[in-house]
């Protein structure tokens, strides 16, 4: 039997993405970010989330999409996975959807310019809406950051 999956929906460069709701701590408006030196460009820095210091990355930068100025609708989605807590800067986040597990398909090789390994599947919602579900473990893969750092040096 198909299971129901609740996902938080956010947008990034006109595409709609989803993260399972139990991986999301909160969704915050933009707050001042403190830059951390010697980090990859997509790491925007750290924020104070109610007394806890949390690193924030720009998801556009993380996926190699051109970064834009943050707007009023920009949001920081705080996710927790793999014992890591990280904030994702996204263009907007304003929906929670129920996705049936049998409506999720394996991702094609490249989708909206994002490498397949960051995607756990594509869900079809309604008639024409496509939701890209993120593979958080890979998005938060720290080895990749370290490689990037070494590349930068």
């Amino acid at each position: 039997m198909a299971e129901e999956l609740k996902v938080i929906v956010f947008t990034l460069a006109q595409e709609e993405y989803g993260i399972e709701v139990d991986k999301v701590r909160t969704i915050e408006r933009m707050v001042p970010i403190t830059r951390v030196p010697k980090t990859p460009a997509f790491v925007k820095g750290v924020i104070n989330l109610r007394g806890i210091v949390i690193p924030v990355i720009d998801l556009r930068g993380r996926f190699g999409i051109d970064e834009t100025e943050h707007t009023d609708s920009s949001r920081i989605i705080i996710v927790a996975a793999n014992e890591l807590e990280v904030g994702f800067i996204v263009d907007s986040a304003n929906d929670v959807l129920d996705v049936m597990s049998d409506a999720i398909e394996n991702p094609p090789e490249v989708l909206g310019g994002i490498k397949a390994k960051y995607i756990s599947g594509v869900a079809k919602v309604g008639e024409s809406r496509l939701l890209i579900l993120l593979n958080l473990i890979e998005v938060l893969n720290r080895n990749e950051i370290i490689q990037l750092e070494q590349f930068g040096e």
Binding site: T39, G45, V46, I47, L84
Partner: protein, 693 residues
């Protein structure tokens, strides 16, 4: 009555009192003449007794009651402490601890205290040398008489004169019934009877204390009368609610005995116990003056802080503190927002209110931040006792010197670090420090020293355990390691001394020649290592054969407050730990010279390197190259100095260290952590050690 709700309070407070008893007993062992310490001990024991009795733990109450009796004599200078009494009292504390532990584990708190109670009773009766255990209770009436209360010279001569003039002298013990409500009144009636027939020479407790009902169930008097024993007994028994009366006639012989015991008491007071020692050579070891027998000397530094009045505290669930802290941080953000709005609205009374709120919340912040921090003292304070007992049982002499007990650590770390430290200290005393004879042979002082130090450094707290014992024997360690298959013979050849030292942390490793019950089973050090690693710290060991070993534990501060200097670079703020700052000042650009491509300045007749913080953190908004005069911080790492160029000093502040989050953990260069400033913004903390190469 429903007692469960009081149980946790009882347990907490009992532990506190036991701790305080332990500490003060150790202090007393050092300063046996200091009656004020006895007072503190007495009060703790008394409170403990009251609490246990209320909660219905009778064995606890019984034991503390008898301890109290002994302490009462000491406090009134009727008895002076000696090795035997100390040992007995320490045993009592252990028994009490065991019983409280049993209660914590859901038991009934019952314990076999009979033996200890007997010994304590014997001490109260004057057997201050521990003879009773050998001689048992064969002593005749005379010795019973001689005991209980010691008469002074005057009272003795009064009795002896009365005897000569044909009066009778009695030693009378009276006990009232347990359920007696007005003990003082009954006692008064007894005294009334006595005084009608003769004269009370001496009463114990004193008449005054009896009148104030400061006695338990019984009291005793020396009494001179012409009345017959029988009629006296009869009259006293007729007073209602009197349980029993016992009269012992005092004759010349027992009086002589009394005189002797009086002399003996004097001798004890002046700490000369040759006579006693000669009489009972078996117990000679326990009659050395307590100063000598005390193997542990608590560091002078810790003594005053663990002082008399215990601080008034309440207990709070740590989760509540966490949520308090988080809520407060949110409040701060709103405060800043309000300040902003107030500056836009420009209404005086609003601005004033917001400013006041800012001040109050700043104070509040300080308090909230400090709540979670606990001095390591709460872990360290059990060690003096532990080392004392260990040293005694191993027949070694060991001084434990504690430094930096006030160093604060996050509560969660404090809770976990106790066991590893116990292991390491046991190890130091058991394996590290040599036996007395060995030390003398090596030309070392008889007394071994164990240093226990704690201090802050940057993002870490260091705890060091250093002893001046035999040190790690490299060939022996290697031999064992190869035998146990920890390393191969080939590998062993290439190991550095430090690597060899680390082998003792390998699982299943032990170099002790014989297995003792204290340590040496080869479990321990590997557990210590993994425990410390699980706390995110690590342990290192340095050793010099023949002169000692030092274990150094480095612990992270998951949450800790340090004093820091806040500085500004453009719109960014950074914090420098104040502990590493030597001086702040400013230098002219033209004073910076170049030497072999390195920029240096002349600072108080020494040449020190110049570091540009803006350059190190790739500051986007500030560049010191453009300035003619720059602010600088002189920082220190060990004996090396360096000047760090910054744009502007903001000021000194207490900051909370926060981790940057696991995602960024790893090599961050000059940044060691972050802190949240009063305005809710995150500022990065610079690691001065990374600035000095």
């Amino acid at each position: 009555m429903e007692m469960n709700q009081y149980m946790s309070i009882f347990i907490d407070e009992s532990n506190d009192h036991l701790q305080s008893l332990n500490e003060n007993m150790l202090r007393l062992e050092q300063q046996p003449e200091d009656i004020s310490i006895v007072q503190v001990i007495f009060r703790s024991a008394h409170t403990l007794k009251g609490m246990s009795a209320t909660m219905g733990f009778e064995d606890l109450a019984a034991l503390t009651h008898d301890m109290e009796n002994v302490l009462d004599l000491v406090r009134n200078s009727k008895l002076s402490m000696n090795g035997h009494i100390f040992d007995t009292l320490f045993k009592c504390l252990d028994a009490l601890e065991a019983m409280v532990q049993d209660i914590i584990n859901g038991g009934t708190g019952k314990g076999d205290v009979e033996e200890l109670v007997q010994i304590l009773k014997a001490i109260v009766k004057g057997d201050v040398e521990g003879k009773s255990s050998a001689k048992a209770k064969t002593a005749a009436t005379a010795s019973t008489v001689s005991a209980q209360l010691l008469l002074d010279q005057y009272q003795l001569s009064v009795i002896s004169q009365s005897l000569e003039s044909g009066h009778r002298a009695y030693y009378i013990e009276v006990s009232v019934r347990e359920d007696c409500l007005l003990k003082a009144a009954r006692a008064y009636m007894v005294f009334d009877v006595l005084e009608r027939n003769g004269e009370v020479v001496k009463a114990f407790p004193s008449v005054q204390e009896i009148e104030q009902e400061q006695f338990d169930r019984g009291f005793s008097v020396y009494y001179i009368t012409q009345a017959e024993e029988e009629s006296l007994r009869d009259q006293i028994s007729r007073v209602s609610e009197i349980d029993s009366v016992s009269l012992t006639a005092v004759d010349r012989e027992s009086l002589a005995e009394l005189t002797k015991s009086h002399e003996q008491a004097n001798q004890i007071k002046s700490a000369k116990q040759e006579t006693a020692a000669a009489e009972a050579p078996v117990i000679a070891s326990s009659t050395v003056t307590s100063k000598e027998s005390a193997p542990v000397r608590a560091a002078a530094a810790t003594a005053p802080t663990s002082g008399n009045a215990s601080p008034r505290t309440i207990r709070v669930d740590i989760e509540r503190l966490d949520s308090l802290m988080n809520l407060f941080s949110e409040l701060l953000i709103d405060r800043v927002r309000l300040e902003q709005l107030a500056s836009e609205v420009r209404r005086n009374d609003l601005t004033e209110t917001v400013e006041h709120m800012a001040r109050v919340s700043a104070d509040l912040q300080n308090i909230v931040l400090k709540l979670r921090m606990v001095p390591v003292e709460s872990v360290f304070n059990r060690f003096p006792r532990m080392v004392r007992d260990l040293a005694k049982s191993l027949d070694k002499k060991v001084d434990l010197i504690v430094v930096g007990a006030e160093t604060e650590l996050d509560r969660t770390v404090i809770d976990e670090i106790g066991d590893p430290l116990v292991h390491l200290i046991r190890n130091a005393v058991d394996h590290g420090i040599e036996s007395i004879s060995e030390r003398v042979k090596l030309g070392k002082s008889e007394v071994g020293t164990v240093h226990l130090r704690a201090y802050h450094s940057g993002n870490h707290v260091f705890i060091e355990i250093e002893e001046d014992g035999k040190g790690i024997n490299r060939p022996k360690v290697l031999e064992t390691a190869i035998k146990r298959g920890v390393v191969t013979a080939e590998e062993a050849k290439n190991l550095s001394d430090d690597e060899v030292n680390m082998l003792i942390f390998a699982a299943g490793f032990s170099t002790a020649d014989k297995v003792s019950d204290i340590s040496g089973r080869g479990v321990g050090l590997d557990v210590v290592k993994s425990k410390i690693a699980s706390l995110g710290g690590h342990v290192a060991v340095t050793s010099k054969l023949g002169s000692g070993t030092k274990f150094s534990i480095q612990l992270p501060l998951t949450l800790s407050i340090i004093a820091a200097m806040l500085i500004k670079l453009g719109n960014e703020k950074y914090a420098f730990p104040l502990s590493s700052i030597v001086e702040t000042g400013s230098i002219k650009r033209s004073d910076i010279r170049t030497l072999h491509g390195n920029r240096i300045i002349d600072y108080r007749q020494t040449i020190i390197p110049v570091v540009s913080l803006a350059h190190l953190v790739d500051s986007p908004a500030y560049n010191d190259e453009d300035e003619t005069e720059t602010e600088m911080l002189v920082i220190r790492k060990g004996d090396k100095l360096a000047a760090v160029l910054v744009e502007e000093f903001i000021g000194q502040s207490e900051i909370v260290l926060k981790p940057l989050g696991k995602y960024l953990a790893g090599n961050l260069g000059v940044v060691s952590g972050a802190t949240i400033l009063g305005d809710g913004q995150v500022a990065l903390i610079v690691d001065p050690n990374a600035l000095i190469k």
